[in-house]
């Protein structure tokens, strides 16, 4: 298992470098004047250009610039914005809020999704089953910004307060999770339906266990393996996917920070956020892979 984890970690390194380089190149590397429009209508004064060029190493060759950036990134130095704010500080404010939101979303989708999935999986073909199946299709199909706008309008919600307490994040969290929730429901249902006729479930019945123990322990434990791993992956994905939800509810997480940075062309913030999200994605992926092995003893890592 250790060797497997190590190999996966080594595989993740080129992916991390590739993704961050891609974004870094898009933001910094493309030809063009990085200071266009920075100083209002006029061209920027030479002194400013020289100072900025030096500060952001713009006269170095591209790959050197990137390497410097990468070095700074790995030592936790995210650099400064164009007007001198520490990017690290901005991230430190925004990330906890987005993590909170993602956690609320994952809890919501786990609770609602698994419950709905179990209900439908055990009553396959019933009215409830069909109703839930159609609802999941609708949830998967409706874009989050539509749900968000409608919910905000219909429920008359105001913006979330700056420090984003958990209570105020519940509805945005559920909206953020809506699509995944539907997916969890379907995944749970399919697995239950598939495993329900499994021989080991039949054995459990033959052992004279109560129906609740047969379903709750023997059937669920097996059916939850893919669901739990999917939830893990989603925790990573939700942090990056929160940009729309955060925008609609004015939540000051990384989504809002990123969107503002893009409109103000604050390249440093954009690259840093993407780099962190890619890192989170890769780490979560690896952890989920290892988790899979814990949940299913049959998996062996070479």
């Amino acid at each position: 298992m250790g060797r497997y984890a190590l190999r996966r970690l080594l595989q993740a390194i080129p992916v991390f470098i590739g993704s961050t380089f891609l974004i870094w190149f898009l933001v910094w590397g493309l030809p063009g004047d990085p200071f266009a429009g920075r100083c209002g209508e006029r061209k920027c004064p030479d002194a400013y250009v020289t100072y900025m060029t030096d500060k952001f190493n713009l006269d170095e060759p591209l790959y050197v610039q990137y390497l410097i950036y990468l070095k700074n990134l790995l030592t936790g130095n995210f650099g400064q914005t164009f007007n001198g704010t520490e990017i690290g500080d901005l991230l430190a404010q925004a990330f906890p809020i987005s993590i909170k939101l993602a956690l609320v979303a994952v809890v919501a989708e786990a609770l609602i999704g698994i419950t709905a999935g179990v209900l439908t999986g055990l009553r396959r073909g019933s009215f409830i089953d069909n109703l839930v199946l159609v609802s999941t299709l609708v949830l998967i199909a409706v874009p989050i910004f539509v749900i968000g706008l409608v919910a905000r309008y219909a429920l008359g919600l105001s913006s979330v307060s700056p420090d984003a307490p958990f209570v105020e994040l519940i509805i945005p969290g559920i909206i953020l999770a809506s699509g995944s929730m539907a997916y969890i429901t379907r995944l749970t249902r399919v697995n239950l339906v598939e495993n329900r006729r499994a021989d080991y479930v039949r054995t459990a019945v033959a052992k004279g266990l109560t129906p609740s123990r047969v379903t709750g322990v023997h059937l669920l434990r097996n059916s939850m393996i893919p669901v739990v791993t999917w939830l893990g992956l989603d925790l990573g994905a939700l942090m990056g996917g929160a940009i729309v939800t955060e925008g609609i509810f004015n939540i000051r997480g990384i989504g809002g920070l990123l969107f503002g940075a893009i409109s103000r062309r604050e390249s440093g913030i954009v690259v840093s956020i993407v780099a962190i999200l890619v890192l989170v994605y890769l780490i979560v992926n690896l952890l989920v892979d290892l988790l899979y092995g814990v949940l299913d003893p049959r998996i062996r890592y070479e």
């Binding site: 993704s19 706008l149 925008g247």
Partner: protein, 329 residues
């Protein structure tokens, strides 16, 4: 065996005929099973209301995208501030050449006409992006599946680079780089940019499907045999690999198409996707944000069209997958 009563079909519930029916009906399903995956799936699909409804809806949207004039004779770009925020006029449905069925937006543009013309952007972006994905992803998938070895590993890592970027985020960065938020690119430029962005971020998923199809096909005995007989790689790919990959490609492609229509609207809503002069549901919904209170119809109609369009494709893909995957039936 067959009694005359059954032949005249006057008494379908007649008891003596009943025991005959299961036995007589039995050979029929046998025949269907031998008709192959596609005809079997088609047989299954025609009986599914979800499939039929979504197929009809999609046909409507495609028609709308191709010939919007059929549905509305009003110019979707014509502004008349005198009509700003006029509510929907039900009577307009019965007067030919009249606008305002869905009301007018802030700038006095006809919402009905714009909703109709908005289908074009969604369908064009969705279809082109998915086709591009299939071609590019399919090409790389065949390459890595067929050649294997280090090329496979390199391509896998290369694909991971794009899959590692969260979709909305990646699209946001790419689009805002090539078409900054305040700029006004031409309709053609911004549309193709959105399509290319979706292809850039989506191809690895399709490459994975194709690679899996290649690998599973390579294991088949008759492919080994064809190879041993000296069949060229091109022939093996076209005769054996591609037919095997079509089913999963079609399923994932259809569902992705729905997803892309939603994603296009999301990015347009955020202001980094399509923009004026393109008419798009996402832009319309974005524009309506400040006017939810006085004019909910500004949002309701484009949102309804968007949701129905996405739902149609997702439903279609779902039905097709169920039909092609007998295990889940």
């Amino acid at each position: 065996m067959s009694s005359p009563e059954v032949a005249t079909a006057t008494s379908p519930t007649e008891p003596p005929a009943a025991p005959v029916t299961p036995a007589a009906a039995e050979p029929a399903p046998r025949k269907e099973k031998s008709r192959g995956l596609w005809s079997d799936a088609w047989y299954e699909l025609r009986r599914k209301p979800l499939f039929v409804v979504s197929a009809i809806l999609i046909a409507f949207f495609v028609l709308m995208a191709a010939f919007p004039q059929l549905f509305s004779s009003v110019d979707p770009g014509y502004k008349d501030l005198n009509r700003s925020l006029t509510p929907p006029d039900f009577g307009a449905w019965f007067q030919f050449g009249q606008g305002g069925q869905f009301g007018y937006d802030v700038q006095g543009q006809d919402i009905y006409a714009r909703v109709i013309y908005g289908a074009r952007a969604s369908i064009v972006v969705g279809v082109c992006a998915v086709l591009g994905n299939m071609l590019l992803g399919g090409f790389f998938g065949i390459l890595s599946g067929y050649l294997g070895g280090w090329i496979d590993s390199v391509l896998a890592r290369f694909g991971d680079v794009f899959l590692g970027l969260p979709f909305v985020l990646g699209a946001l960065v790419i689009l805002s780089t090539f078409a900054p938020v305040q700029s006004n690119p031409s309709a053609f430029r911004i549309t193709s940019l959105v399509i290319l962005t979706f292809i850039a971020l989506g191809w690895p998923s399709f490459a994975r499907i194709m690679r899996a199809a290649v690998l599973s096909t390579k294991q088949l005995d008759y492919v080994h045999a064809a190879k041993a007989l000296g069949a060229k790689p091109g022939r093996i790919i076209f005769r054996h690999v591609l037919p095997n990959a079509v089913a999963p490609m079609v399923v994932v492609g259809t569902i992705t198409l729905g997803g892309y229509i939603g994603a296009e609207a999301t990015l347009s809503f955020l202001g980094v996707g399509l923009r004026e002069p393109v008419v798009s549901w996402g832009i319309m919904i974005g524009d309506s944000r400040q006017y939810m209170e006085p004019a909910p119809y500004m949002m309701a109609f484009p949102a309804a069209f968007l949701v129905i369009a996405v739902l149609s494709f997702v439903m279609l893909g779902d039905a097709v997958r169920d039909a092609l995957d007998p295990k889940l039936r």
